[in-house]
């Protein structure tokens, strides 16, 4: 059984390593400040005993006042999983750092989020629309998008 690692346990471990990087720890997820996302993810990916080397998926949710980007990581070695979240504010130019330098599998998924939510991923090597054509008006998965 894949054990969802207690997010409070992992959050305390992370906040001692990266002071100020962890905003909150919910029941099943850790909320990370977006500017330290890549360091935190790299730590989770490469540290012995954690080894969250497998990125299950990336997705985003529009909560009107902010966008939340969700990353689920799994450690195939220890059969454990953890959910990382980060938030970006503002509707004109929201952005979070890209994790493509850590996971090649993030490439298409970040492009999808950029296409449908308009969230920019800084450091993405090829950030352009993936499903819709260039010039498509707006970002359809945003809650205020009108058909």
């Amino acid at each position: 059984m894949t054990v969802a690692l207690s997010s409070r346990e992992i959050a305390s471990q992370l906040s001692s390593k990266f002071p100020g990087a962890i905003e909150a720890a919910g029941n099943d997820s850790v909320l990370v400040k977006s500017d330290s996302l890549v360091q935190v993810a790299a730590y989770l990916k490469d540290t012995d005993g954690l080894k969250f080397a497998y990125l299950n998926y990336i997705t985003a949710v529009d909560y009107y006042s902010y966008f939340e980007v969700v990353y689920q990581l799994t450690s195939l070695e220890h059969n454990r999983s953890v959910i990382l979240k980060t938030r970006c504010y503002g509707r004109d130019n929201p952005s979070v750092p890209s994790v493509t330098s850590l996971w090649q599998g993030a490439d298409f998924q970040e492009r999808e989020i950029y296409d449908l939510f308009g969230i920019k991923f800084e450091g993405h090597p090829n950030l352009k629309r993936i499903f819709l054509w260039d010039g498509f008006p707006g970002y359809p998965l945003r809650k205020d998008w009108n058909q």
């Binding site: 299950n56 997705t59 949710v61 996971w103 599998g105």
Partner: protein
């Protein structure tokens, strides 16, 4: 005066589009290929020709009303999509599924895996140039499985069979005897197919050592399912994170060693044998009783979020649902197995010839309905 240098033809790389409408791209998929003669230098996959905005449509439907749309994600294996989605909503709302329904679901999901691998293996061999003979054999057998689905839900392709809390209707009395016949038939067929292809010299020459995907790259790209297992990753959600009642059955996880096209073919064939084992056990143990939990027609799951995943025939299929306690999901994200499995395609095809590109792409087994959604 002509020197040797002047005699040589000047070549330069050129770009060719394969697809979006091409029989070997398994749907409306386009690859912009940069070629040097016949050798692939680089490719760029282009998506979006089948984008229907299914995730947006989910936000305008009731939880039950989204089930028919899941059929249209990976339309080669709709039963698995139904199962993945229903499990996610049940996890979110804390619904317990009756025993009989669990068994029916497992039987359907495994039949679906058999049907999917019939298509996957058949069309991969088609792509290898074994034009339509192996394909027709597998399609003949898939037809028998589709007959079974037809018997339980009256549909041949988009089943819309599972419901939140169970399945839509009970299996008819003639189903289990018919299932037994199909299992016997498929067991015999797999032996025949193995004799035809396992040591086939042409298949070995075309597929062995071609399109190698290393274990490290597969993990880094988030690749799952038979493609990952062929690269030696012993990871199957039915064992690693058992959902439904998979912990009650005995089966093995076949893996490959080299991660080449031949291994991906072998893993699928061996998985079919394992699926038959699960179906045999499940059809013996299936209890009586209700087939659906007693639920209101419209459910309002409590506010919160959930991620549930299953081992679909193509890999990890997951649904990430955010609920705000209203009639429809606030957000419903589908983890697209097929899209993520394409993440390593570029490295897999570099340096191979066009004919190999088609085979390598075919061996990944994708459906555009799930890539574009």
């Amino acid at each position: 005066m002509t020197t040797t240098q002047e005699m040589t033809l000047n070549t330069e790389p050129f770009v060719v589009n394969i697809g979006p409408v091409h029989p070997s791209t398994h749907g409306v998929f386009r690859m912009r290929c940069k070629l040097d003669g016949e050798v692939v230098i680089d490719i760029e996959p282009v998506f979006g020709y089948l984008h229907r905005g299914i995730e947006k449509l989910a936000e305008e439907r009731t939880y039950t009303g989204f089930i028919p749309l899941t059929d249209r994600l990976d339309y080669i294996s709709p039963m698995s999509n139904n199962l993945g989605y229903c499990l996610a909503v049940e996890k979110l709302a804390g619904i317990k599924v009756p025993e009989r329904a669990e068994y029916i679901r497992v039987i359907m999901a495994e039949l679906q895996r058999l049907a999917n691998h019939c298509v996957a293996v058949g069309s991969m061999l088609n792509d290898a140039g074994a034009y339509f003979t192996p394909f027709m054999y597998t399609f003949r057998e898939r037809e028998r499985i589709i007959d079974l689905f037809d018997m339980v839900c009256g549909q041949r392709l988009t089943y819309n069979y599972m419901r939140i809390g169970g399945v839509s209707q009970d299996i008819p009395a003639e189903f289990l005897p018919a299932l037994e016949k199909v299992v016997k038939r498929l067991t015999k067929f797999l032996k025949e197919y193995e004799r035809l292809l396992k040591q086939n010299e042409i298949l070995l020459a075309r597929a062995k050592g071609v399109g190698i995907l290393s274990k490290e790259l597969a993990i880094n790209c988030g690749i799952s399912g038979p493609v990952a297992r062929a690269s030696g990753i012993k990871w199957d959600l039915r064992k690693a994170d058992p959902y439904s009642i998979y912990d009650r059955f005995e089966f093995d996880i076949p893996t490959g060693e080299n991660g080449d096209c031949y291994d991906r073919y072998r893993v699928r064939i061996e998985e079919m044998t394992q699926s038959l084992r699960i179906i045999e056990q499940a059809s013996k143990q299936i209890p009586g009783g209700p087939i659906k939990a007693d639920l209101p027609h419209i459910i309002y799951p409590p506010a919160g979020e959930v991620y549930a995943h299953i081992e679909a025939p193509k890999g990890e299929l997951g649904f990430y649902i955010v609920s705000d306690n209203s009639i429809a999901p606030y957000r419903c994200h589908v983890r697209p197995t097929s899209l993520i499995n394409l993440a390593a395609l570029r490295q897999m095809v570099k340096g191979w010839k066009i004919a190999d590109l088609i085979l390598i792409f075919g061996s990944i087994d994708i459906t555009m309905g799930e890539v574009d959604r």
